[in-house]
Symmetry: C2
Subunit: 934 residues, 2 copies
């Protein structure tokens, strides 16, 4: 028997089903599935993806059986649709579409109305009685086919239309009469001849095979090949070809076309929601030339109220489908229930009504807002439609970010003028007056102004100004630049690395091309898209209801990873705790040295010539530090708090600009020369690889001692007050176990001294960051003394790749374009490279200390795909900025579910199947089993 | 039977031998060995290192049997020496010394004359007839014992001496009479009482046990513990105690003392060479108060000629030992022959003559100059004394560096004033006039002046000036700073990171404390020691003869690793080839862009706004590049040459100082603003991790294309001329295999184009640097396309440790002091950490490409201990700067020999022994077998 390459589908059933995506492609499988459900779908057939492989294996030739099978199936379509392909009386017209197992850009799109020629055209006119409709259909078909199948540049056809309109003084396409269209068809024929040296095919069968060839040919088109390479999809997959009978919604007032959602895609509310147009084609609904009408009466009334139309007028001019064609509406309602129940998800459906007959053209899972996703998922569990696991997977972790930050009011945003685009560094929207320096930002804030801080780049000196601003815009720096990291930590909107703006601090303005924006001018920035907008745009806080909390509880029940937060202040700690953080994974102590008088004492320490001088200055700082820790510990009562000892190089605490140096000199009563000398002495060529982290604590043990003392004193004081505290003291930048041991000695000795002084002891841990490749590789030695590891994957990525995150912007874009990188490794952890270091450190750390606590506090701690990796590595927790805590909770649940599934599937496969086909089937069944609520 | 803790040695034989270093310590084992050879050594005994362990295990108590064994052995000593310990008539005096298995600072030194008290003193006077000698001996004993054993600060004793001299108006110690010495002894007693609250012990046995306690106690002294920790020596080793009879060379004219070398330690010549003093103690020879006389007649004559003394006067006043005591001399000659033959190496011996009786006090392997080491090693092979392997091991690779660079004339250096000390960045000595900028250095050079270029730090702009200078001195930067690396490459002397000097470019001077050195002043620098000297010091080129070549040939026969060089010019290539380089492992192409007009074209490329502009500028460079490669290929005819594509970030090619920016603007006819903007645009926070290496080649493919073209064109041209070339094109900074593949594509396509144009093909390879941790970890993927790896261990170290080599100076010193690092990882590869990356890349690279060629071109390629590691890793070659090629050749031979030995020892051990003792014995025997010439 010849191999089966063609699969029929039609209103009375089909040869395929939804499980056959690999053979029929996504579209084909879905059409077949709908048919199997008894839903009226225009008949058609799918040429399988296997054919594509055979086609290429045979040097772009088809096996003889294909023609036969196509012919047989075409006959079946003719029979079902009661029309004949190429018939001059009642011609069957076809659509031809590509369809691989996943949606793939670069493949051939649709060819409609295939089968038309001057003869069948006459039949169409006779049958339908609408000459203009027929000629316009023919003209459209030629244009599509000429372009997509025959490869003629679309511009030539557009140009011909323009000429006709110009010549006849027409303004729009719809003004073209049959005469105009006829002349256009003649012109199109000439164009095709000119550019392809071929006649436009008039034989319908030739047209059909031409379209099939074009679909298979597009599989090896440059863009498709490139896309597969990028996504690591094998060429062997192939594409299917879907050939389907045309139906028309534009043949009179008993015709129409529409789209609908089974639930509200904006709010998630369980109401049928859709729009339709009478006597129109599918594309007319989308094009927005005519105002579509509502499908339901309820929807229609709501609409008429909002635009101020009386119920009488509405009923007359804009009746709902429910009113206009009640039988069709009833059928549609039946179908949508069937589809939603069948696919167990909100569906986005397309339908056409041809002479009162309802045809379904598409059903697919509907896109929805974050709020809708949450509501639908939770309600479907309550309805018994899906399991909690599936509900969790229905909401993308990244999506819920929308629910946590202010957004622009949509209608306002639509009117805005977009000035430039930078990197979407920290989500949310903000509007305010432009200010170029941190001090002024703080002043203006006090005056009650809304501010956007605009800087070439930010440095720790700007923290105060960043805190005062509604949003931050920088001209330089990537997704993990100082501005981006700090802003995300603050939950503040930030657009970074906006290279298009050129800032001139001297004249207090920035320019984008010709546009100049001065200090005090209003701008708005969107940290979710990276857009910079001229003028004010109103923002609103998104609301979410109880469903969100329910979903997050389910996530918490399901996840294995704990979720902590990175927080440096009691305020941030509270936000994070409210978001569900289970402790602090990283408190950076350096930010604490910038506020108020502290920076003065810090600078005094840096300028000191000896240990004595440093100790004197540190004494001034210790009270502040202790108060900071006291506040944070109190806010996190009962939860662990990891505090990192001083990390950045000391030069970050000194001023850079002459004006500030002068101020500092006056304030501290030292010469400017001395300050400049110190700045010079501390200058580093590569500060990222310089005198920082535990290297500071080893050269100046008194710094570590002071910090340890502040931590332990605060912990003791709170313990006395009955507050439970769990301090975890973290030594940064350890590359050799000796570094850690030296620092631990200081910490332990200091703690013991404090315990004696306070007459109380507190449980505490001492551990380290693993952020230096060497530290990861020798983790077994480090773990002999370290009680916990926290992976600093930012630095680990910088050093494993040799990329400075502040500078990598210069080549990361090119790297993505050329395919060297598929994703920014600072956004999502590089599992193949940097991941090896994490896995190595986990394994080796546990070797010498089996119960070692393992976490991650780099930026990757809030990235879902990284969280999946950390789950698989077996870490105990991830830590991320407060506003990402809910995202991490959900992502951790996803990781647990997905990895359980993978494990079970693997087991099932190993148990039961030996073949690829069998494996795929088993995966499908397993998924079905898990997701179908029993 | 009680355990044996005490081992006797004496002129008639001993209980121990040289193999028992672990039990007897180094000193004890050597004394025992000499005795066994029948050499006259004052009798004594050694308390074993086991006792030390027992002592500490028993809370600092001795087992009862020790007293017994010490007593027995003391009796034996008395018998042999015909004196009695504590006897009032003929007292035996003892020396007590510590002695662990390796020489170890911080342990107790010597106590001499032990056994003296007011009674035995009288016996000594009676027996020896020299009252002053006796009282002086007593005073010295009290001072030593009081300090070393009883812990009284030595200053108190010195102070007492000063008081006596002041009171009696004496200028030197020797003027003190018996009366003075007696009063001093009385004073010493008071001092001891005051500071220890104890009487000075008068009982000789009490003195002896006090000294033994002190030796064992010193094993746990802070310094000794610290030193062991640093060197990873276990506490269990313990120290031995050596108790030996005193002999005196200062009891009259039939007494004397001397030191001698069995061969000349300066030249290696096979002549007996030594000095002695009549009626003197050992320390007098060293102290240099009296002029020592020569041991041999030949030596004595040579000396008298050099100082202009007649033969008559010489014979009378300064007779040689050969003339003065011919019998003793004969005996000494016999002994030295015996010792050299026994130890099979040049010996440094100490002897004392007491009343015409010769006593040997020490023999040890003599220190020697590099030239002597080479000569002695080669001659001993010719004499049949040692094997070639042993000869090779006798010369330390680092040592021969002395033979390759100019050195200060010793006598001149002795008079020099040392201003400051920096890092010994590039060996050799240089003298010249101070110049502070590169342009002036080149001008002055043209005027025929000798120059030392002094800079805060150097940058690629200074290359011309560095080349013009005799030596380079920088205030900042470590052993692998730009200055250091370039200077070593040039074989030019350099002192870097000399923090003590403060440079003021404006006034053209530098200051060290109060001293100011102006432009044009003469200074001298020693790149081997790091010394900076005020004024001119004459230098000389060390000479070496045929022996050196012979030794290097033996090394070449023995080594497995090939040795290549890092060279950027035909000149350097020639030097390296003359030194034995077997190819070039690294040609940096960036240096080529600084000379003459090239920098202009390079800057034009950088300033270009688009690919077209860049290509235009590159066209100007290609001819120069081709000529460069032509010259290098020709010089290296028949050998492989690895060329690295452009590596440094582009900003390095732009000027930094306003003056130079102005010049560039005028020259290139562009605005200063444009240049400044470009500098600003290219500025990087961490250039080491920035836009460099293959990241440049990927963003600007035209650069790689141009370089590949220049290489292949030069190779084709030479091939046509019949010159054999083997180009290896190297892509720098690869962290992902995709980076390499993209660059390789460009190179291969370009090469094919050139082959077609030239009508000839040339064999070539395309490979990569492994210098990014991620590149090492994913080496299996990289090796799928890369034909060779060259490890860039400088960058690999920077990134694995997270140290910027330019900045690490700020903490590396502290790290060494605190024991975090035992060695600078930029000098010697960190085998535990960075080494893992190398091993990983070797293993994974060979997995996907078994015949991959592996080399290393980082600075470590010239470091002997790193070479040993690379040998063990199984690399194919190491590459180092031209002047280190001979060192690397020798080190590679060492690596081969040592690893063969280790392998054989391991095998022997595994075969034959199960115990530690057995293993140690087997090692010793194996070494003996290998090194004893059959």
């Amino acid at each position: 028997m010849a191999k089966k390459f063609v699969y029929f589908f039609g209103p009375e059933g089909s040869e395929g089903d939804a499980s056959m995506k690999n053979t029929l492609g996504g579209k084909g499988a879905n059409l077949a599935e709908m048919c199997s459900l008894g839903i009226p779908v225009p008949a058609g057939f799918t040429i399988s993806t296997d054919m594509c492989t055979v086609y290429y294996e045979n040097n772009r030739n088809y096996p003889p059986e294909l023609k036969e099978q196509v012919f047989e199936n075409l006959e079946k379509v003719e029979e079902v649709m009661c029309k004949k392909f190429g018939d001059v009386k009642n011609p069957l017209l076809l659509s031809v579409r590509s369809g691989a197992r996943v949606s793939m850009p670069g493949m051939m799109d649709t060819v409609l109305n295939l089968g038309l020629n001057e003869k069948t055209l006459k039949g169409l006119i006779k049958k339908r009685g609408d000459e203009r409709f027929a000629w316009d259909s023919y003209r459209r078909f030629m244009q599509m086919y000429g372009n997509v199948v025959m490869g003629v540049d679309g511009e030539h056809f557009e140009h011909a239309i323009e000429n006709v309109k110009k010549k006849n003084n027409l303004k729009t396409d719809v003004e073209m009469t049959v005469t105009h269209l006829k002349s256009l068809v003649a012109e199109y024929k000439k164009i095709v001849k000119k550019y392809t040296k071929k006649e436009f095919p008039t034989d319908p069968m030739e047209q059909l095979w031409g379209a099939i060839d074009a679909v298979f040919g597009s599989w090896m088109g440059d863009r498709a090949v490139y896309y597969r390479k990028m996504n690591d999809y094998p060429d062997k997959w192939g594409t299917a070809v879907n050939v389907q009978a045309m139906v028309f919604g534009n043949m009179g007032d008993d015709c129409g076309t529409g789209v609908a959602f089974t639930r509200n895609p904006a709010t998630g509310e369980k109401v049928f929601y859709g729009e339709y147009l009478i006597n129109a084609q599918g594309e007319d609904v989308v094009a927005g030339i005519r105002t579509p009408q509502e499908v339901t009466i309820a929807g229609s009334r709501k609409w008429s109220e909002s635009v101020g139309i009386s119920e009488k007028e509405r009923k007359k001019k804009y009746p709902s489908l429910e009113e206009y064609m009640p039988e069709v509406y009833e059928e549609l309602v039946d179908i949508y229930h069937k589809l939603e129940n069948h696919y167990r998800d909100m569906q986005d459906i397309e339908f056409t009504i041809e002479n009162k007959k309802l045809w379904m053209l598409q059903t697919r899972t509907g896109k929805r807002t974050a709020a809708a996703a949450v509501k639908i998922a939770v309600e479907m569990v309550n309805e018994g439609m899906i399991s909690k696991d599936e509900a969790l997977l229905r909401v993308k972790p990244e999506q819920i970010d929308q629910l946590l930050h202010p957004q622009f009011v949509k209608s306002e945003k639509a009117k805005a003028k977009i000035l430039a685009k930078g990197l979407p560094a920290s989500p949310g929207a903000a509007t305010g007056q432009v200010v170029f320096n941190a001090d002024k930002a703080m002043d203006w804030k006090k005056q009650g102004k809304a501010i956007i801080l605009v800087r070439v780049e930010t440095s720790p000196e700007d923290i105060g100004g960043m805190d005062a601003a509604n949003g931050i815009l920088t001209a330089r720096g990537g997704m993990t630049s100082h501005a981006a990291v700090v802003a995300r930590g603050m939950g503040k909107c930030c657009v970074s690395g906006c290279g298009a703006i050129s800032i001139d601090y001297k004249t207090s303005k920035f320019t984008v091309k010709e546009e100049a924006v001065k200090e005090g001018d209003w701008i708005s920035i969107d940290g979710t898209t990276g857009e910079v907008i001229l003028g004010k745009v109103q923002t609103e806080q998104p609301k979410f209801e109880g469903d969100f909390d329910i979903l997050m509880q389910w996530a918490d029940e399901r996840r294995v990873l704990k979720v902590r937060t990175n927080a440096d202040t009691p305020k941030d700690s509270k936000i994070a705790r409210d978001f569900g953080a289970e402790g602090i994974g990283l408190t950076r102590t350096e930010h604490m040295f910038f506020e108020g008088d502290r920076i003065k004492a810090m600078r005094e320490m840096i300028l000191a010539d000896d240990e004595g001088g440093r100790k004197k200055a540190l004494k001034k700082l210790i009270k502040h530090q202790r108060d900071d820790f006291y506040g944070i510990f109190k806010e996190m009562e009962g939860l662990p708090v990891t505090i990192r000892l001083l990390d950045p190089p000391l030069h970050e605490f000194l001023p850079h600009e002459p004006k500030h140096i002068k101020e500092m000199a006056q304030e501290m009563k030292v010469s400017e020369k001395k300050i400049k000398e110190k700045i010079n002495e501390l200058h580093e060529f590569n500060p990222m690889l310089g005198h920082r982290g535990c290297r500071l604590g080893i050269t100046y043990p008194e710094i570590s001692e002071t910090q340890a003392r502040a931590i332990i004193e605060a912990a003791c004081d709170l313990t006395k007050e009955g507050v439970k505290v769990f301090p975890e003291i973290m030594v940064p930048l350890v590359g050799k176990s000796e570094e850690f041991t030296l620092q631990k000695d200081i910490i332990v000795k200091t703690a013991e001294k404090v315990f004696e002084e306070k007459g109380i002891t507190v449980e505490y841990m001492v551990g380290t960051m693993i952020e230096i490749p060497r530290g990861a590789m020798t983790a077994d030695e480090v773990a002999e003394e370290a009680e916990f590891f926290s992976f600093g994957t930012n630095d680990l990525t910088q050093m494993a790749f040799g990329y400075s995150r502040d500078d990598a912007g210069k080549f990361l874009e090119v790297y993505k374009e050329t395919g060297v990188l598929t994703v920014d490794p600072f956004v999502s952890i590089d599992q193949e490279g940097v991941g090896q270091l994490v896995e190595m450190a986990v394994k080796r750390g546990r070797k010498t200390r089996p119960n070692i606590k393992l976490g991650i506090c780099g930026e990757h701690g809030g990235d879902p795909s990284s969280i999946d990796f950390f789950h698989r590595c077996g870490l105990n927790y991830v830590s991320c900025s407060p506003f990402r805590v809910p995202i991490a909770r959900l992502a951790a649940a996803h990781a647990a579910i997905n990895n359980d599934i993978v494990r079970e599937i693997k087991k099932t496969m190993e148990d039961a199947y030996g073949t690829i086909e069998g494996a795929v089937k088993s995966i499908y069944k397993e998924l079905e089993k898990r997701f179908k609520k029993n």
